[in-house]
Every structure is written in structure tokens, then in C-alpha cells.
């Protein structure tokens, strides 16, 4: 066996890779609960890929058969329901995990030098993940799939001059149709996953170049090898995560309409508009910004800007200190307001449109933007 391993290592750097990234990779000793979410997202990614492969074996990406092929998976394919529920709950879990992961980064200043590029790669991952989820949302070809994709593609029509062409280019047709479904399928199962996996690889390479930040934000904490200390700690966390994950998969897979909308169990019907077209909860914050602004172009710009502004976080925060524990009252108050505004926007985006809803959406949107735009000032004096 040792001879075989030596033979392998002479031809491929297995031992080096293992030592560099695990056995001898120095990791701060004091990583807490919030540092689990990175490995959770990796687990969810693997779940999505594996269940996705099996779903694609039966799923038919045509407008005539997509809906019934999914019903076939849910009813007649052995354990098809399990694969589908794991994939759908996984998609939602992905965003829960990613939002916690991003929050951790903001809270402990993990986006700051020398980790700016790590943050940007992570933000790219987030954007690609949104595209991946939107393209996957179309595939069940239920009422919500159809109309949410219709709304989503129509959003691009506000781009000056070329908007209409962009919409047709995205749809591959003059309306959302089977052509759209088929190309979204291609994006969802091939193009975007490839980008996603490449970015995950880049994210890990960049992390291992600069090393993990830690809850104190200081650089002089004691470091221990990743393996066996964090492999075993992460494994225990992963099992606890899977416990919660399967609790939902087996006992509340639709999460009362938040993970799988009841409307989406009606086949797509281009002539009957549902009463309420709402995006999935994880995009609701941006959707409520979009809805709250009377001018369409402005609304779309501000909704997209809410994501774009996150890319600039490393340069907006001018404090030399990283972690929330080291820093003053300003950032603590600001971060609290930011969290309230983000959750508030999400709440507004998933509930019925009303005057009060619009007023609150505007207030929350303002707080959201103020958190970032005034950041250079309130972080300067720490």
C-alpha cells in the first residue's frame, strides 16, 4: 500500500495537496458557530449536483411534458419524491446558508484586506447562484414558474434602447415559451454549474492563500492544523445541519408554500395570470425594492444596485478594525439596522402589495442603502 501511494505521489501531488490544504493548513483555533456555514454550502452544493443528475434522468425540458414529467418523478419513479424534495429544499437551504455566511463575513470584517478578492469571488458566487436558482425555478413549468420567469425577463425590457432585444434574446422567443424553458434547462444543468464549480474552487484557493479570519478580528490568535481538528468539528456540524435539513425534507418539504408554492402545482398557463406573482423568499428583498419605486428603470437599477453595492464593501468600510467585537457603537447600530431592513424588505416582498407595504418597503430600502452609502463616514472615526 505504501509503495502504491509513493508511486502515485511521484506522479501526482496528492500528498502535497492534502498537507497544504488539510493536514498542515493552519486554521485559527477560535472559529465559532458562524464558521460552519462555508462547509454547509459545500454540502448543499454536492446535494444539488447529485440529486440534480438523477432528476435530469427523468425530467423532460419541453413545454408539453415538463410538468407531467415532474409529476411522474414525484409519484411513479422510486424515491423520485425524495430526490425532488431534497433538490428543492436544498435550493432554499443554499440561500439560508449563504446569507448566514455573508453575514458572518460582514460581522467579523472577513471581507477586509487581505481578503478583498475572496469577498469578490464570493459575491460573484452569490450572483451566479441567483441565476442558477432563477433558471431552475422555470423548470417545473407550473404557473409560478411561467409567470415569475415572465416577470423576471420583462425586467430587462427597461434597459434603454436595447431592452426589448435583450428580452427576446433571453426568451429565445417573443414570449416565454418552450424555447425559453429548454434554454433555461441548458443553463441550469450545464453552463451555470460549471461556472459555479469553478468559482467555488477559486474561492477556496483564495481562502487558503490568505487563511481564515477569526471572530476576534486579530491576526495573532493560536493556529492549529485543519485536519483532524476542523475536519471532525465540521463533520459534527454537518450532521447537525443534515438533521435540520432532513427534518424539513421529510416533514415539511413545501415549507407551507415558502419552498414550493402551491400555485406551482398547476401547469403553466400563458392565458391565466395568477392573482399574486411573487418571487421566492430569497429574492424578495430586491423584489420589494423594485415594487416600491414608481419609476421602472429606477426601480430595476436600485434593486440591482442593492446587490452590486455589496461588491464594494471592502472599500466602503474604512475602519482598520475587523471584528464587531473590536469596534465601536456606530457599526453595531448600523449593522442592526441593516439586518432589520433586509429582513423587513424580504417580508414586504413576500406579502400582498398595499400602501403600507410600499411605505415600509421604501423606508427599509432607504435604510439598506444608507448602511452602505454612509459607511465611509461612520467607519472613519473608529
Amino acid at each position: 500500500m505504501t509503495k502504491f501511494i509513493a508511486w502515485l505521489n511521484a506522479r501526482f501531488p496528492f500528498q502535497e495537496i492534502w498537507n497544504k490544504n488539510a493536514a498542515k493548513y493552519p486554521t485559527p483555533k477560535n472559529l465559532n458557530f458562524w464558521y460552519f456555514f462555508g462547509v454547509f454550502s459545500l454540502v448543499v452544493l454536492v446535494n444539488q449536483i447529485i440529486t440534480g443528475i438523477w432528476l435530469a434522468m427523468v425530467y423532460t425540458p419541453t413545454s408539453a411534458d415538463a410538468f407531467s414529467s415532474l409529476e411522474h418523478i414525484m409519484r411513479d419513479v422510486p424515491y423520485g419524491w425524495l430526490l425532488r424534495y431534497m433538490h428543492a429544499v436544498g435550493a432554499n437551504a443554499f440561500f439560508i446558508v449563504i446569507y448566514c455566511h455573508m453575514y458572518r463575513s460582514i460581522m467579523y470584517g472577513s471581507f477586509k484586506a487581505p481578503r478583498e478578492l475572496l469577498w469578490i469571488i464570493g459575491m460573484l458566487l452569490y450572483v451566479v447562484l441567483i441565476i442558477e436558482s432563477a433558471s431552475g425555478y422555470a423548470l417545473p413549468w407550473g404557473q409560478m414558474s411561467f409567470w415569475a420567469i415572465k416577470v423576471l425577463t420583462t425586467v430587462f425590457s427597461v434597459i434603454p434602447f436595447i431592452g426589448k432585444q435583450v428580452v427576446i434574446w433571453l426568451q429565445g422567443d417573443y414570449n416565454v415559451s418552450g424555447v425559453t424553458l429548454h434554454r433555461f434547462f441548458a443553463f441550469h444543468v450545464i453552463a451555470i454549474p460549471l461556472v459555479l464549480i469553478f468559482l467555488v474552487w477559486a474561492h477556496i484557493v483564495a481562502l487558503h492563500r490568505v487563511g481564515s479570519n477569526n471572530p476576534t478580528g486579530k491576526d495573532n490568535v493560536k493556529e492549529i492544523p485543519f485536519h483532524p481538528y476542523y475536519t471532525i468539528k465540521d463533520l459534527s456540524g454537518v450532521i447537525a445541519f443534515l438533521f435540520l435539513f432532513f427534518l424539513i425534507v421529510f416533514f415539511a418539504p413545501t415549507m407551507h408554500g415558502y419552498f414550493l408554492e402551491s400555485e406551482n402545482f398547476l401547469p403553466a398557463n400563458p392565458v391565466v395570470t395568477p392573482l399574486d406573482i411573487s418571487p421566492p423568499w430569497y429574492l424578495a428583498p430586491y423584489y420589494s425594492i423594485l415594487r416600491a419605486i414608481p419609476n421602472k428603470l429606477m426601480g430595476v437599477s436600485l434593486a440591482a444596485g442593492a446587490i452590486a453595492i455589496l461588491f464594494f464593501l471592502p472599500w466602503l468600510d474604512r475602519s482598520k478594525l475587523k471584528s464587531i467585537h473590536q469596534r465601536g457603537a456606530f457599526i453595531k447600530i448600523a449593522l442592526t439596522f441593516f439586518v432589520i431592513s433586509f429582513i423587513g424588505l424580504g417580508f414586504c416582498g413576500t406579502s400582498h402589495l398595499s400602501n403600507i407595504n410600499i411605505i415600509f418597503s421604501r423606508i427599509f430600502a432607504m435604510i439598506y442603502y444608507l448602511f452602505f452609502l454612509t459607511m465611509p463616514f461612520y467607519t472613519k472615526y473608529e
Partner: protein
């Protein structure tokens, strides 16, 4: 271009007429039990003998349990083209997912006599429904009782219950309690139809969670051991 606009406009109004109605009555609560096999079977038999005169449940054609209750492709009106006012009755395979159990239960209860409708019957939950009151034989005839004073509570639901608006004017073959049970059977079956593996799912789920729980204890103890002294 003009034609498309007109078409869209018409379709928009058509769709309004289908979805514009907010529920005007309170939904009654029904206790659904996905493992009550006897009730599901009674519901399935009622479905095959009554509902399938007009409705299909095409995603159940490979479901052995449904087949055993007489729900088979050759008995479904899959190829019937002519319907009242050209409205095809919906396929009911996933209806319970779309509407919810309470909605179905209330819908079954809230038919009433209305000579102005082509079927002779109307429904409180779906005004101007084109569905016939197939329950009239069992439930009896209900009529709107305009003279009845509806007392709605100041707090909580302001919408009246169906039985506050309707009065039973002619008894059917079942007592109201028996009809509640019949409706519950049918709802139980439709919930089963929309998610046939729910019962199996929950029983597997318990095993998976027990396994993960035990696995966690072992890994957690191992982690404690490895981290000792760190």
C-alpha cells in the same frame, strides 16, 4: 399587433373572472390524516364512482392503490370534448396541493340551490361555479336564507360560516354528521392523490432522523476527544 393586444385584453378579463373572487366565507377546518387508509379508500371509491363522471386524475393512473379503488385511465373522461359552456373540468390529481384541504372541505359543503344557474346550483366559495352539486343526494338541498341574521364576531374572522348563510331545506340520504365524514374521506383521498408518498415519507423520515441523531452523538464525542487539551 392590434390583434395581439385585443387577444391579451380579452384573456386578461377572462382570467379576472376566474380568479377575482376572494373567499366570501370562512374556511372550515378538516382534520386530514395521511395514514388513515380506510378513510382514503372510502374517498377513492367515492371519487371513482362520482367525481370521475367529469373529472380526471391522470397522474394517478399508475398508482396501485388508486387503481384498486377503481380509478383507472379507461374510466376517466380523458377524451370527452364537449362540456357545459366549453369549460373542461380541472384534473384533480394535485388539487389538494393547489387549494388546500380546508378549502376543498368547505367547497363540498357550500353548494346551494340557485335556479338562475345552468346547473340549478351555485356555490358560496366559488360563485357561479359550473360544477354540478353532486352532493345533493347525500347532503340534501341547501338554500340561501336571506332572512337569517348573521352574527359575526367583532374579533377574529369577520367572514360568515357557510351554515350561517345556508339552510338545509330538504334532507338528503345522510345526516349532517355523516356528510361531514363523507367529505372528510374525499378530502383525505384528494390529499393522498396530491402527494401519494406522504405517509411513507414520514415513516422513513423518523428513521433517518434517529440515525443522524445517533451519528451526531458519536461524532460529537470523537470531536471532544480530539480537541481535548486544545
Amino acid at each position: 399587433m392590434h390583434l395581439r393586444k385585443i387577444l391579451l385584453f380579452t384573456l386578461f378579463f377572462l382570467s379576472m373572472s376566474i380568479f377575482a373572487d376572494d373567499p366570501s366565507i370562512t374556511l372550515e377546518h378538516v382534520n386530514v390524516n395521511t395514514s388513515d387508509q380506510a378513510s382514503i379508500l372510502r374517498g377513492a371509491k367515492l371519487f371513482s364512482s362520482t367525481c370521475m363522471a367529469c373529472h380526471t386524475a391522470k397522474y394517478l393512473i399508475y398508482d396501485k392503490f388508486a387503481n384498486s379503488a377503481g380509478i383507472t385511465a379507461n374510466k376517466m373522461p380523458l377524451n370527452q370534448k364537449e362540456w357545459l359552456l366549453n369549460v373542461t373540468p380541472p384534473d384533480l390529481s394535485s388539487e389538494a396541493r393547489v387549494r388546500g384541504a380546508d378549502w376543498l372541505y368547505t367547497y363540498f359543503h357550500s353548494f346551494y340551490k340557485d335556479p338562475s344557474r345552468p346547473t340549478g346550483f351555485n356555490n358560496l366559495l366559488v360563485p357561479n361555479t359550473l360544477m354540478m352539486d353532486i352532493f345533493v343526494g347525500m347532503q340534501g338541498t341547501q338554500e340561501k336564507a336571506p332572512a337569517r341574521e348573521i352574527i359575526t364576531p367583532i374579533f377574529g374572522d369577520h367572514l360568515p360560516h357557510y351554515y350561517q348563510v345556508l339552510a338545509l331545506t330538504q334532507a338528503g340520504s345522510q345526516t349532517p354528521e355523516e356528510f361531514d365524514e363523507t367529505s372528510r374521506d374525499l378530502v383525505n383521498f384528494l390529499v393522498y392523490a396530491s402527494d401519494p408518498h406522504a405517509s411513507e415519507r414520514k415513516s422513513i423520515g423518523i428513521k433517518v432522523l434517529i440515525y443522524l441523531g445517533l451519528f451526531f452523538i458519536i461524532v460529537f464525542l470523537l470531536k471532544k476527544n480530539i480537541w481535548k487539551g486544545k
